[in-house]
Every structure is written in structure tokens, then in C-alpha cells.
Symmetry: C2
Subunit: 219 residues, 2 copies
């Protein structure tokens, strides 16, 4: 009872791994939707393979939770609500929105988890970064959308709007996660360190702008 | 040049394996959609696992095509159009339509390929049947939909209508496959053997009715 608590409680690692695993399920849904909306079968197959990489990431992360003695499914389920809300409010209407969501939307989610993983021990952090390193949706989405927009400039405006909406909905749900788990956020941004939080948001916004630019869209 | 052709030309096996592999991609899309529309995460995960079984079936079937010396991707792509047309015309609007499509729609497609596989050599036919044996969507869909309909009888009518529409669209695309590949159909139903074709349709209709009844719906 008199032991010093570890610098980062193990349940923070558990929380983040739970969020990561749950995010991989929604990453799977996003890629599978982009696959289903593909107008040619070879792109559909490549996106299906990327969806399965999200599934594999889910399985690995769940296994790590189990290995750490966690009630993995309960921890994962506890993160479903804000992710489901984001997903439900950003249903794609066509192939191009689905592709932007796969690259830009999943990119924001990965940035968020990567930022939060900074407080974890090195081994867990490396694991999280490794899980987040796949799939490389940019390899399909960037050339495909650049070609589409080059042929039809009128698509750029609505897709730029869509990208901004994805960012807005993601931030709105991230705030909800933060409000529901103040102890987690306090640990991550440092107690009363508003500057740290603002810097994190600035990094995420920069990273989002870079992805939008890669597509030839205004963030 | 004077050799007797084999009873069933090997390109028929190739055609059917191509149709099967392509069907598994669309099976993946259907299960992934049902997963994405699930209102709880544990059902979403189980349906995601079933979607991945379709992916695994696609990989196995494509490998078998490659092992047989086929230009697998070209053969698979040649079947995409009617399947994409079926898929595009039967987009689910909610979780329940998605579940019916996963069970009833994919069931019709599997029956069709199973029927056509009757003309193949035993080894290939066994392979096709084995590939078609998973996933067991009934294990999720039947109890879930029966419970939903028991709670709200008003859902039964629209879902029965949806099930009949899936059958209608599937038959319409099957006729297109038949019209595009008369030599395949001639081989399968026996030349000028209309009775054989009608029997096959009768078996498929019976099997469809059994699935609808399992859900407590009128076929």
C-alpha cells in the first residue's frame, strides 16, 4: 500500500490498447466500404487486403490485451460509442468520399492514438506504432484521387469540404473521449498543461493538412 | 490434335473457380457491410471475422487458379460485372437488411456455384464445396433476426419483401451470366435439357425458401 505508483499506470496502457483495437475494427469497416465502392475489381481487391490488415491489427492488439491479463473484449467494447458515432456521421456516399475517408479519416484517428501513446512505456509504444504503420492507404488513394481530380476539377471542392467535415467530426468525438476520461487526458497532456494539449492539436492539424495537400485538396 | 477432349474442359473449371473467387470478394463486402451496420461491437467483430473468412476463401481459390496455370486475376475480373450489378442494386439500408443479405443473398450465390460445380471433376468439386462451407452466417443472422422480428412483427413484411428482391436480382444476374456464357450453361444443364435447368432452379428456390423460413419470413 505504500509502494510508489508506476509513472504510468498499467490501466492507461490497457485503455490505449483498447482504443487502438476498437479503432482497428472501424478502420476495417472504412477500408471494406472503400473496397465495396470501387469501380474496378483490382482496386477492390487491394482495398480488401488493406481492410484485412486492420483485422490482423485488431487480432494482435486484442491478444496483447489478453496477454496482459485484461478483459480484452470489455475494454475494447468500452471505446465503441464515440467511434461508432464518428463512423455513423461520416457514411460515404460514393467511391471518392470512401477513399478520402480511408486515407484522411483513418489518418486522423491514427495520429490521435499515436499522440496519446507518447506516455506509454517504450515497448508498448513501439507496439502501438508498429500496429499503426499499416495499411498504407496513401499508395492507392493518393494517385487515384489525384488522377480523378485532374480529370474533373469540379470534384475538388466537395471533396475538400468532405475532408474538413471528417476532421470536424473526429475532433468532436475526440473531445467526447477526453470528457469521458479526464484522468487519461490529464496524464497525456500533463495536468493543467493546456499548452501541451494545444501543441498536440497543432501537430494533428498539420498532419491532416499534409494529407489533404497530398490529395491536391485545401484543408 | 486427335486426342479426345476431356469430358469437362479444364477451362470450365477455370471459369467456375473464377466466378467463385470473384463471388468471395462480394461475399466479403456483404459481411463487412453487415459488420459496419451492427449496433453492438461484439456482433460487429463476429461478422468481421466472417468477412475475413470470405477473404481467405478468395485467396485460396485464386491460388488454385494460379496453380492450374491460369491468368487468375484476368479470369476473376471477367466475372465482376454481373456480381457488381447485383451488389449495386441491393445496397442495404440498415442493419437488418444487411443481415438478410448476408444470409439469404450470399446463400443464393453459394447455391448457384454449388449447382454449377456438379459438372467438375471430383477433386475440384470437393474444393468448391469446402470453400463454400464457410462462413456460417446462419449462426449469427438466424437468432438475431428471429429475436428482432419477435419483438417487432412490423419488421417481418418489409424484410420478406427484401428477401424476395434479393432472389429476383440474383436470378436476373444469373440469367445474364447464362446469356454471356452459353457454352458453360450448355455443359452444366446438358444441351437442350431444359428440364435439368428447371430442376436446378427448383432446388435453388426450395433452398431459398428454407432460409427465409429459418428467419420466420415468407419467401
Amino acid at each position: 500500500m505504500t509502494e510508489q505508483p508506476p509513472e504510468v499506470p498499467s490501466d492507461v496502457a490497457e485503455e490505449l490498447l483498447g482504443l487502438l483495437a476498437c479503432g482497428e475494427v472501424f478502420g476495417f469497416h472504412t477500408l471494406a466500404d472503400a473496397s465495396a465502392r470501387s469501380s474496378d475489381i483490382s482496386q477492390a481487391v487491394r482495398l480488401m487486403e488493406m481492410a484485412v490488415q486492420h483485422y490482423d491489427a485488431y487480432v494482435r492488439t486484442r491478444q496483447r490485451l489478453l496477454d496482459g491479463g485484461a478483459d480484452a473484449d470489455a475494454v475494447i467494447a468500452s471505446h465503441a460509442e464515440p467511434l461508432a458515432a464518428y463512423f455513423g456521421r461520416t457514411r460515404s456516399a460514393d467511391e471518392f468520399q470512401a477513399l478520402v475517408k480511408a486515407y484522411v479519416g483513418n489518418g486522423i484517428a491514427a495520429d490521435f492514438v499515436r499522440e496519446m501513446s507518447a506516455v506509454l512505456d517504450e515497448d508498448t509504444r513501439d507496439f502501438v506504432h508498429d500496429v499503426l504503420s499499416a495499411p498504407r492507404t496513401d499508395e492507392i488513394v493518393v494517385p487515384r484521387l489525384r488522377a480523378v481530380i485532374a480529370r474533373d476539377q469540379a470534384k475538388a471542392g466537395p471533396l475538400a469540404l468532405w475532408g474538413r467535415r471528417l476532421m470536424g467530426e473526429a475532433l468532436s468525438q475526440a473531445q467526447r473521449v477526453a470528457a469521458d476520461r479526464p484522468e487519461l487526458v490529464a496524464l497525456i497532456v500533463g495536468k493543467a498543461d493546456l499548452a501541451g494539449f494545444q501543441q498536440m492539436m497543432a501537430r494533428m492539424t498539420t498532419s491532416h493538412s499534409e494529407r489533404m495537400q497530398a490529395l491536391g485538396l485545401y484543408a
